[in-house]
């Protein structure tokens, strides 16, 4: 029997980590992910896990210690946010290139500057090309479930890549909600043991890790890394199917909400999906055919699948909780637009909304504004402004684009 509980997103993540019982957790405090190592160190102090908790002096060392631990054949985990993730940057790429399936809880927070401890996706979006698999979570339940699936995906022999499970700082990390937990034994059986063939501690078969890789071989190694990310797609679905059998909860690359007969749809990540679903329901009551596509897997990017899913709509709004500062749209927008373009003309009209930066509140009314703009575009066939800021309080932004 599943266990019903009430937990915050951070606590749910820490509970998942306890059930996984990794060999090493190396972490450094940073708001809003700090609670995860806090909870976890109490599990260590109480003897509830067998883990070595390494209270490192920085996130750079957290990721460095994870690399050492994972290369030594252990399971290594960490948790971080924003500047902490940025300080890990160099080592994120190294962890991926060394094909070390480290698992991280990334509690999304605005990356400095200016300093802002609240939520947006500028931290993990900045790491989108670091070679890490990225899963996003709408709520505490998804953060928990994604964490339980993380090792199975990362450690799959076809994959062997690190993975970060993202959730929105404060909005889900600190909000206490109902959750359904799995029994410890069931988690243990599902996650399984980590038994890598090659690791530093095998005296009978010593290895060297992290070479100088000159032009003769480097390209092939990077291509193999890219291939692993491509293969992660089928593994993610395979693991989700197995997870559904034991949990009854179903996951794919994305969730489609009331899209069957929808004319327009929004695409977004994480907790705003809850707000968007509420707005969709309200607009549906008014007879408006609107839907939502909530992306769960951003790396690998399910380009074919997302293009196929969005194909039928007349207009699509891609919602970015991070700006690219490229004068051409946020990261999710450019990838979705590129997927649609590669799929071929004509497809839906597509617009971009940058929203919720520094955790500017996003209300149901904001999402209703977005949907009404989309319906306008669908009816007229005309896109007024492609790049828009939602909920920003400046005249200049209003002049340059749409604004609720």
């Amino acid at each position: 029997m599943a266990i019903r509980d009430r937990l915050s997103g951070n606590e749910a993540t820490a509970v998942a980590m306890k059930q996984i019982n990794p060999d090493v957790v190396a972490a450094f405090p940073i708001t809003p992910s700090t609670e995860i190592p806090q909870y976890f160190s109490t599990f260590v102090a109480d003897g509830a896990v067998d883990t070595e908790f390494v209270a490192v002096e920085s996130e750079h060392s957290a990721m460095s210690a994870c690399v050492g631990a994972q290369a030594a054949g252990g399971r290594a985990m960490t948790a971080t946010s924003a500047n902490g993730l940025a300080l890990m940057w160099e080592v994120l790429y190294i962890a991926a290139s060394l094909r070390l399936p480290i698992v991280m809880a990334c509690v999304n927070r605005t990356l400095s500057g200016p300093l802002n401890i609240h939520n947006d996706h500028s931290d993990s979006m900045g790491a989108r090309d670091s070679g890490w698999i990225q899963l996003y979570s709408e709520n505490n339940q998804e953060a928990y479930d994604n964490m339980l699936m993380a090792h199975r995906i990362a450690e799959h022999p076809d994959v062997m890549l690190p993975i970060m499970v993202c959730q929105d700082g404060f909005i889900t990390s600190h909000a206490v909600e109902n959750i359904e937990l799995m029994e410890d034994e069931k988690v243990k059986a599902f996650v399984g043991e980590y038994k890598p063939d090659l690791h530093l501690l095998r005296k009978e078969a010593p290895i060297s890790v992290g070479p100088l890789d000159l032009p003769a071989f480097c390209f092939e190694h990077k291509r193999q890394q890219a291939e692993a990310m491509r293969k992660a797609k089928s593994v993610i679905l395979e693991v989700a199917r197995e997870f559904a059998r034991i949990s009854g909860r179903h996951y794919g690359f994305f969730e489609e909400y009331r899209t069957d007969d929808a004319e327009v749809a929004a695409v977004l990540l994480n907790s705003t999906a809850g707000t968007a679903k509420f707005a969709v329901d309200r607009l549906r009551e008014q007879g408006k055919k609107v839907g939502l596509v909530k992306l769960r897997v951003f790396r690998p990017f399910p380009a074919d699948e997302i293009a196929a899913a969005l194909w039928k709509f007349k207009a699509v709004a891609v919602m970015d909780k991070a700006d690219s500062f490229n004068a051409a749209g946020g990261p999710l927008f450019t990838e979705v637009a590129s997927a649609l373009f590669v799929k071929g003309a004509p497809g839906p009209k597509i617009v971009n909304f940058i929203y919720g930066i520094g955790q500017r509140d996003v209300k149901a009314e904001d999402m209703e504004f977005v949907y009404n703009e989309l319906l306008n575009i669908a009816n007229t066939g005309r896109v007024g402004s492609v790049y828009n800021y939602l909920g920003v309080k400046e005249e200049e932004a209003v002049l340059n684009g749409l604004q609720s």
Partner: protein, 311 residues
């Protein structure tokens, strides 16, 4: 058993020849001899910071390391090895690992005194059972002889050139050995490959088989950066010690011991003169530089004598 170079050299090599370190470089001599201090039955996990030692010993698909080896980045050799050591402890507790594994991290002075200082300090403070070895050649040699905080005052490097107005590096070198002593770890040693390398071997053995974090700062001359005659490596080491530019000492549980006191302390000029990086010090009008360095060497030697209770 008393140390004998002959016996030590008979042990199977754990760091093989064929690597690409320069002839006359101190670092591979130091590494090879430190690894000789491992018990043959013990496995080792060796980490290394980015630098000459790493890029010359592990070029895909070849490795010179017979033990397990890991290179991560420039500044995180200590943190990386600390993670491996933590995994070892966890896995040993779970009964997944048998036998003894020793953990060693290597870094040059750039990767240790400068960019890796935080990572080193953190790993030592946390008490991991590991040895950190700094091979100190007094500059960023791998990138082409740039000054580091280990570079001696007035040294001519590519980022502290001896120019018409500024005669080389303007600052004294950081005393990393003392910084590590102040971490209150069980064992800190300063050594060099001199004579039959007894000092280096015995300190390595002690550091490897002392429980907890240990640190060794080892002088490792660089023929390219120091500009000495390549075959003179061992003479340069000897002069560093005989002039007390690089005293051999150790600090065990806070107790200082000087391992070698020159009977005839040579003037520091003897150490400086054979090196091209100090050539400008011997031009007429620059005598004050050598005098200043001599005063600093004397001051630090006196301080060390006092700390060791020798005066």
């Amino acid at each position: 058993m008393a140390y004998s170079l002959k016996e030590a050299a008979k042990k199977p090599e754990r760091f093989t020849g064929g690597h690409r370190m320069c002839a006359g470089c101190g670092a591979p001599v130091v590494v090879r001899h430190i690894l000789r201090a491992l018990k043959p039955e013990d496995h080792a996990v060796i980490g290394c910071a980015t630098g000459c030692l790493e890029v010359s010993t592990f070029i895909y698909p070849y490795t010179a390391w017979k033990d397990s080896f890991i290179h991560n980045a420039f500044e995180n050799s200590a943190a990386t090895v600390s993670g491996a050591e933590a995994a070892y402890r966890a896995m040993k507790r779970k009964g997944k690992i048998r036998g003894e594994t020793k953990f060693i991290a290597f870094g040059g002075d750039g990767g240790t005194y400068d960019i890796g200082l935080q990572s080193l300090s953190g790993a030592m403070e946390r008490g991991h059972n590991m040895l950190y070895v700094c091979y100190d050649n007094g500059a960023y040699m791998n990138t082409g002889v740039q000054r580091s905080s280990a570079t001696p005052k007035y040294t001519d490097t590519t980022t502290s050139p001896a120019g018409k107005k500024i005669p080389g590096k303007q600052q004294w070198r950081k005393d990393l050995t003392e910084i590590m002593v102040n971490h209150s770890i069980p064992y800190v040693a300063q050594t060099a490959a001199v004579g039959n390398m007894k000092d280096l071997y015995e300190k390595a053995e002690k550091a490897l088989y002392t429980d907890g974090p240990t640190f060794m700062n080892v002088l490792a001359p660089c023929p390219r950066g120091w500009r000495y005659n390549t075959p003179d490596l061992m003479d340069i080491n000897k002069l560093a010690v005989e002039t007390c530019f690089w005293p051999l000492y150790e600090v065990e549980e806070g107790r200082y011991r000087i391992n070698y006191k020159p009977r005839n302390k040579l003037p520091v000029a003897e150490f400086l003169k054979p090196q091209g990086r100090f050539k400008h010090l011997f031009k007429p009008g620059n005598e004050y530089m050598v005098e200043e360095i001599q005063q600093e060497v004397d001051r630090k030697w006196d301080r060390l004598l006092r700390l060791a209770g020798e005066v």
